[in-house]
C-alpha cells in the first residue's frame, strides 16, 4: 500500500544532528491521491474510484471508532447512518465531553458569504502557507474543498452559529487572515459543533447502528495478519479488560500536547491510542511539531494542573510589555512609569507590533522571562508572565467599548486570577496548545497498518508545521463527516474479513500484554506518584523541546527522559486495585506512553535542523532572529517507525511536492 520512491540521497547530504539516535529507512509516499488530474479534481476522482459497499453488506461490517470528538463523533454518526455497525469509545463519561468542546474561536470555511475574495483555493493557499510549507498539498486542498459543506451540515443539525440581524450567518476574520471566513458561536464554537455531532451520534445509538462505550480506554491495538482488527480496552469503572474486534479500526483520539504536563488540553488528553498503534507498526509523522499559543493565563504556582487559553483577539487592542529593569518586576505595574516599560514586540517588530504570529509572540515572551524580566509570582524561582495592558485601549475607546468586545474574557481572567484586568494589566504567558504531528496517514487517512485509519488531531495530515486558527475544527469535521466515510468504504469493500475470535494468538498476546502492564504498575510499589513523573517530564519537554530548541538541549533532554523513564518503571507508586475505578492506574498508563513519545519528539526535533512554523531551532535563524527554513534538506514529512524497546526509531521520509503552490520564505518585518 505504500510505494517507495527513488532514494533521496542527494537532498540529505547534510549529516543529521540526530546521528546515532535513529536509523534511516526507505522513503515513503502517499499512493492514494489520484495522479495526473488537476488538484481541484483529485477528490472527486478519488471518491468515484473508491469502491462502494452494498447497503445490505454494511450491516455485516463493523467499525471501531476510538474517540468521539469532532473527528470521531462526526464519523461515528455518518457511518452509523450509512448502516455500518459502529462501536464508539471514549474515556469520558459521555461523548459530549471530548476535548473538542473547549475550542473557542471558530471554524473556517470557504463560503465567501462576504464576497471578499475568499475561495477554496485561497483557503487552501493560506493553510499551506500558514503551515510553513510542511503540509501535503493534496490533503489540504481537499480540506478547503469540503469546508463549505461542514457549515451546511452543522446548521441543519441546529448548531446556533452567530447570526446577523437579517438572520443570515455572521463571519469574522481570525488569526491574521485577510478574509472573513471564520464561523463562530460566541466563544464556544467547539462546544456547539461537538454537541451537534454528539446529537447526531446519539440518534444513531437510538437507531441501533452505533454502540456507545463511555469510560472505556483503548490500551492496545489488535493486528492480525498485518491488518488492524480490533482493540483491547479497559472499562474504567469495573477495570475489566475487554477485547473488541471489528473489520476496521479508526483512531480519532485527539492530540498529545499533554506530554508537556501543562497545556491547554484537557486533563485526560493522551497519546496512548496512537502510541500503542505506533508500537504496532503505524508510523508517527512529524512528532516534534507543536503549537504554542501566546495568550494563556500564566502558571500561578507549583500546584497548577492545567493552563487556560484566552482568545488571541486580545492582542488586537492590548499592548504587551515587561519592565526594563529586573528590579521593577515585583512592583505594582501601575507604579512603573512609561519610560521604564519595554513594549518589546513593538520595539523588535515595528510594523507588526503586537500582532506578530503566534510562534514569534510566544518565543519573545519566553526570551523576556529568561532574561529575568518576567512578571507575576515566582514559580520555581522564575517569573513567567508578561503584561498585556489595556489601559491605552480603555483610555482611547472607553471602558464600555472594551467591555463589549472582551467582557467574557476579562471575566474569565478575573475568575481564575482574582485580579481585575480593567484596573491592572493582565498577565499572559505562552502555553502548549496543539500538536500538528500525529500518526502518518495517506490521502485516504489510512495509516501504514492496513485497516487502521486516523482522523482529526490524531493524524499529522493537514497543518504542516503550524496550524492556523480555526482550522482544527474544520479538519476534525471534514475528516469525520466527509472524508473518512468516503475513503473507508474502499477498504471495507473487501470485507467482511475473515472472522477471528478472542482465542486467536494475536488477540491473546495483545490482551496479555495489557494485563501484564496493569499488573506491573500495581506491583512496582515504588515511592513516587504518577503525577510527579508527569510533571518532571513536562518540565524537561518545555525546557528543551518547547518554544526554542537546540541540538545540545535536545540531546540533554533525551538523556533526562531516558533516566526518568527507567526510574518510572522501577519506582512508580500506584495504589489501589485493577478491578475498580482507579484514576492513578489510568494516568500511569498515559504517562508511560508520554515517556516514550517525549523521546521520539526530541529525536525528531534534533534531526530537523531547520526552523519551520512552530518548530524553532536556534541553529537555524536569520541574522535578526527569525525562523529560517531549509527547504533543500527538510522539505519532507518525517514518518517514524517504532524501532522496538531499546532500539532506534527508523526515519522514513515523504518528500513534499508542491505543484499548485510555490514554496516561499515567511517574513514578518
Amino acid at each position: 500500500m505504500t510505494e517507495t520512491t527513488p532514494p533521496t540521497e542527494g537532498t540529505t547530504a547534510a549529516a543529521s544532528d540526530a546521528e546515532g539516535f535513529f536509523r534511516l529507512g526507505e522513503p515513503i509516499a502517499d499512493t492514494k491521491a489520484p495522479r495526473g488530474v488537476p488538484i481541484d479534481q483529485k477528490w472527486t476522482t478519488r471518491k468515484f474510484e473508491a469502491r462502494l459497499v452494498n447497503p445490505a453488506n454494511r450491516r455485516k461490517l463493523s467499525v471501531i471508532m476510538v474517540g468521539t470528538g469532532l473527528a470521531g463523533g462526526a464519523a461515528a454518526a455518518t457511518l452509523g447512518e450509512a448502516g455500518y455497525h459502529v462501536k464508539a469509545f471514549c474515556y469520558q463519561d459521555s461523548p459530549r465531553r471530548a476535548h473538542s468542546i473547549a475550542a473557542q474561536g471558530g471554524i473556517n470555511a470557504a463560503k465567501n458569504y462576504k464576497e471578499d475574495g475568499d475561495s477554496t483555493f485561497r483557503l487552501f493557499y493560506d493553510t499551506v502557507k500558514g503551515g510553513d510549507y510542511r503540509a501535503r498539498e493534496t490533503n489540504v486542498y481537499r480540506l478547503a474543498e469540503v469546508s463549505a459543506n461542514i457549515i451546511d451540515q452543522c446548521v441543519a443539525q441546529g448548531v446556533p452559529f452567530a447570526r446577523e440581524y437579517g438572520g443570515l450567518l455572521d463571519n469574522r476574520s481570525f488569526g491574521g487572515v485577510q478574509v472573513s471566513r471564520t464561523f463562530y458561536a460566541r466563544g464556544q464554537t467547539g462546544q456547539q459543533l461537538l454537541i451537534g455531532a454528539y446529537q447526531a451520534m446519539e440518534r444513531q445509538v437510538a437507531a441501533g447502528t452505533v454502540e456507545d462505550f463511555t469510560r472505556h480506554e483503548m490500551l492496545e491495538l489488535v493486528v492480525v495478519d498485518g491488518r488492524a482488527r480490533g482493540i483491547i480496552a479497559r472499562d474504567l469503572v469495573t477495570g475489566e479488560i475487554q477485547t473488541h474486534l471489528a473489520d476496521v479500526v479508526v483512531l480519532a483520539s485527539g492530540g498529545y500536547g499533554n506530554v508537556f504536563f501543562l497545556s491547554t488540553n484537557a486533563m485526560g488528553s493522551n497519546v496512548t491510542a496512537t502510541w500503542r498503534a505506533h508500537r504496532k507498526g503505524a508510523y508517527f509523522g512529524n512528532p516534534c511539531y507543536t503549537q504554542i499559543h501566546p495568550t494563556c493565563i500564566p502558571v500561578s504556582g507549583s500546584h497548577q494542573s492545567k493552563l487556560t487559553l484566552m482568545s488571541e483577539s486580545l492582542r488586537n487592542d492590548g499592548r504587551i510589555w515587561v519592565p526594563k529593569k529586573k528590579a521593577d518586576c515585583d512592583k505594582d505595574p501601575r507604579d512603573i512609569p512609561e519610560e521604564d516599560r519595554d513594549y518589546y514586540l513593538e520595539r523588535i517588530y515595528p510594523s507588526f507590533g503586537n500582532l506578530v504570529p503566534r510562534d514569534i509572540a510566544s518565543r519573545q515572551a519566553k526570551n523576556m522571562c529568561d532574561e529575568g524580566r518576567g512578571v507575576g509570582p515566582e514559580v520555581d524561582g522564575v517569573r513567567r508572565g508578561v503584561y498585556l495592558d489595556f489601559s491605552d485601549a480603555i483610555g482611547r475607546l472607553g471602558r464600555k467599548a472594551v467591555e463589549n468586545k472582551y467582557g467574557n474574557l476579562f471575566d474569565m481572567y478575573q475568575q481564575i486570577t482574582g485580579e481585575n484586568p480593567y484596573e491592572t494589566p493582565m498577565r499572559i504567558y505562552p502555553a502548549v496548545h496543539y500538536t500538528m504531528g500525529g500518526l502518518w496517514v495517506d490521502y485516504d487517512l489510512q495509516s501504514t497498518i492496513p485497516g487502521l485509519f486516523v482522523t482529526g488531531e490524531a493524524n499529522f495530515s493537514d497543518h504542516g508545521a503550524n496550524r492556523l486558527g480555526a482550522s482544527a475544527l474544520m479538519q476534525g469535521l471534514a475528516d469525520g463527516y466527509f472524508v473518512l466515510p468516503n475513503t473507508i468504504r474502499d477498504y471495507l469493500a473487501d470485507g467482511p474479513f475473515e472472522k477471528i475470535d478472542e482465542s486467536h494468538p494475536a488477540v491473546v498476546e495483545a490482551r496479555q500484554s495489557v494485563e501484564n502492564r496493569v499488573a506491573t504498575f500495581l506491583n512496582t510499589k515504588g515511592t513516587r506518584s504518577v503525577d510527579s513523573y508527569h510533571r518532571e517530564l513536562g518540565n524537561i519537554m518545555w525546557e528543551y523541546c518547547g518554544m526554542e530548541r537546540t541540538a545540545e538541549g535536545l540531546r540533554k533532554a533525551i538523556e533526562l527522559i531516558r533516566t526518568l523513564r527507567d526510574d518510572f518503571w522501577r519506582n512508580v507508586k500506584v495504589l489501589g486495585a485493577a478491578d475498580t475505578l482507579n484514576q492513578s492506574l489510568e494516568r500511569a498508563g498515559r504517562v508511560a506512553d508520554f515517556l516514550e513519545l517525549g523521546e521520539l519528539m526530541c529525536i525528531d526535533a534534533l534531526n530537523r535542523r531547520e526552523s519551520c512554523g512552530g518548530h524553532f531551532r536556534a541553529e537555524s535563524q536569520t541574522e535578526d532572529g527569525e525562523a529560517l527554513r531549509d527547504d533543500a534538506n527538510f522539505a519532507y514529512v518525517a514518518a517514524w517507525e517504532w524501532g522496538g524497546d531499546g532500539g532506534q526509531p527508523v526515519l522514513h521520509k515523504e518528500d513534499l511536492v508542491y505543484e499548485a503552490i510555490e514554496m516561499k520564505q515567511r517574513s514578518y518585518k
Binding site: N149, D152, Y165, G167, L168, Q199, R203, V205, D212, G576
Partner: protein, 247 residues
C-alpha cells in the same frame, strides 16, 4: 491556608460510603478547587491511602465533567463550575464538606464520581435534528431571526453537568431537559420533530427516575451556565401542545 476537608468516600456503587475527614495545609488561594484536591491526593498517596476519585477533564468550565456538592451547594458558592472555583472563595481554617451529586438516576461509581449516562439516554430519545450527513441544504437557505438564534444559543450553552439535578430538592432534570427542548424548538430546523421530541424525552426523563419539577428554582441558581427557568415553562408548553396534537 489550612483546611479541614470532609469528603465522601465510597469504594464502588454497591458498597456503603461515609464522610472522612482530612487536614490539608499550605493551600494557596490561587489554586483551583480541583487542584486543591490534587494536592490532597498527592498527600494521600504519600501515606498509602488511595486518592479521592473525582471527575474532571477540561478544567475550563466547558466540558461539564466536573461537579461536586461543596458545603451543600452544587459546584460551590460561586456561579461557576467546580473546576473554575478557586480557593480564594474560602478562608483559612474553613471546614469544607464535599459530596457527590445525589440522585438515584446518577448512581455513585466511586467517591465523588457519579454516572450521568441518563442524560445521554434522554438525548437519544429525540435531542437532535434528524438530518443525515450530506443531505443538508445550503446554510443560507433558511434565515433564522436573530432573536430566536440568540435564545437558542443562550440555552444551548448547557454543559450537561448535572448540577441542576443535584440541587433540585425533587431530583428533577427539568432544567437540562428544558434547555435542549428550547434550543431545538427555537430553530426552524427543529420544528418537524418538535412534538415527538418533547414527549419522548420527557418519558425517558421520568423513566430514568428523575423527580418531577414543582418549580422550586434551585436548579437555575446552581446552574453554572445560568440556564433560566423559562426553559421549564417552555418544556411544559411544548408538552401541552404535543398532547393537543394528539401525542
Amino acid at each position: 491556608m489550612r483546611l479541614t476537608l470532609k469528603i465522601w468516600r465510597q469504594p464502588n456503587s454497591a458498597a456503603a460510603g461515609e464522610l472522612r475527614t482530612y487536614q490539608l495545609d499550605d493551600v494557596s488561594e490561587d489554586t483551583s478547587f480541583l487542584e486543591m484536591l490534587d494536592m490532597l491526593n498527592e498527600q494521600l498517596t504519600g501515606t498509602d491511602e488511595e486518592p479521592v476519585a473525582f471527575d474532571s477533564d477540561c478544567r475550563e468550565g466547558i466540558c461539564g465533567t466536573c461537579g461536586v456538592m461543596i458545603n451543600g451547594q452544587a459546584h460551590g458558592p460561586e456561579v461557576t463550575t467546580t473546576c473554575q472555583l478557586h480557593m480564594r472563595s474560602f478562608s483559612d481554617g474553613d471546614t469544607i464538606t464535599i459530596e457527590p451529586w445525589r440522585a438515584d438516576a446518577f448512581p455513585v461509581l466511586r467517591d465523588l464520581i457519579v454516572d450521568r449516562g441518563a442524560f445521554d439516554r434522554i438525548i437519544q430519545q429525540g435531542g437532535y435534528i434528524s438530518v443525515n450527513t450530506g443531505s443538508a441544504p445550503d446554510a443560507h437557505a433558511t434565515a433564522v431571526p436573530k432573536k430566536n438564534a440568540d435564545r437558542a444559543f443562550d440555552v444551548a450553552t448547557c454543559i450537561g453537568c448535572g448540577a441542576c439535578v443535584a440541587a433540585c430538592p425533587n431530583g428533577s432534570a427539568s432544567l437540562f431537559l428544558g434547555a435542549k427542548i428550547t434550543h431545538l424548538g427555537e430553530l426552524p430546523q427543529g420544528q418537524a420533530e418538535r412534538d415527538t421530541r418533547v414527549v419522548n424525552m420527557v418519558a425517558q426523563h421520568d423513566h430514568e427516575g428523575f423527580g418531577g419539577c414543582t418549580n422550586i428554582g434551585e436548579c437555575t441558581a446552581a446552574c453554572p451556565k445560568e440556564i433560566p427557568l423559562d426553559v421549564i415553562s417552555q418544556l411544559n408548553k411544548d408538552l401541552r401542545t404535543a398532547m393537543r396534537h394528539g401525542l
